[in-house]
Symmetry: C2
Subunit: 144 residues, 2 copies
Amino acid sequence: MSNSEEFDLRDFFPYLLNLAAEESSLDFQAYYKTRYGMLRMEWRVLFHLGRYGEMTATEMGQRAKLHKTKISRAVKALENRRFLTRHEMESDRRNELLQLSALGKAAYDDLHELAQKYNQSLADQFSKKEQAVLRSCLLKLAKL
Amino acid sequence: MSNSEEFDLRDFFPYLLNLAAEESSLDFQAYYKTRYGMLRMEWRVLFHLGRYGEMTATEMGQRAKLHKTKISRAVKALENRRFLTRHEMESDRRNELLQLSALGKAAYDDLHELAQKYNQSLADQFSKKEQAVLRSCLLKLAKL
DNA sequence: GTCTTTTTGTTACAAATGCAACTGATTTTA
DNA sequence: TAAAATCAGTTGCATTTGTAACAAAAAGAC
């Protein structure tokens, strides 16, 4: 029925990508979760604000391809924990400018630095050449 | 504050992997979802049984690194839809041998073939060399 | 001007997941 | 062999997510 030459899950890129994504996120996730009580979306929002400066939720949604409900909830959670503040824009009161508080910036700096080290430890498994190929393939697959 | 040489989300492998995994799964996911009403876990369980033959839930859990509750629920759903049957093992009545029904096998054959084509279309974006590097990096990252 | 449409962001409800407690079967220990 | 520990699998509950309906503000039609 199923001979050993057959197409295997280990050959199926979506499967491999999912496993690799989960596995490679675990330790970092554990850090921001236990240290700052953040969820993945909250970490992403924090990162975007820390990295690219203040912006509105819609702007972030376009940049990061995140749905507005995800952002809305992450922003609320971050606001409750005093990591960011919102400022209604006078030009259009539907828009809110999001920006990190000092607390948020401190968390960003810490996580940013850790992310960099963490990433390096992942990359160190591979040669420079492999890293470059991997990165460019992932960018293509992610349609970035 | 944040200069443009700074470490970016696009350099962060866990992030890239997550996006690539999501994006690359979308179309295939849509197929088994609309065609067979399956969830991701159900497709994985179906695939394992179709590809590797009958086995117990625990065996599958080890093979696929899936938690037993996920398997339990996926098995129940597949059983309800008549895609598989269970057989209590006489040697140890805690164990249940899972095997695909004819219906399940048909679904597996269809999805297996599609997965292969789908995978090929993903792979076609890259050179043979790149494909090999990508695959080996992902296997390492996934700790397989 | 006011009526309709679009846009920003929130909320409500259903589905999916993770974790821990549970049942029933088997093995170990004393 | 009786009590305790272990193991396979299930269920319940709390958390997270996805979808769609929603309210408020702004823009456009007329």
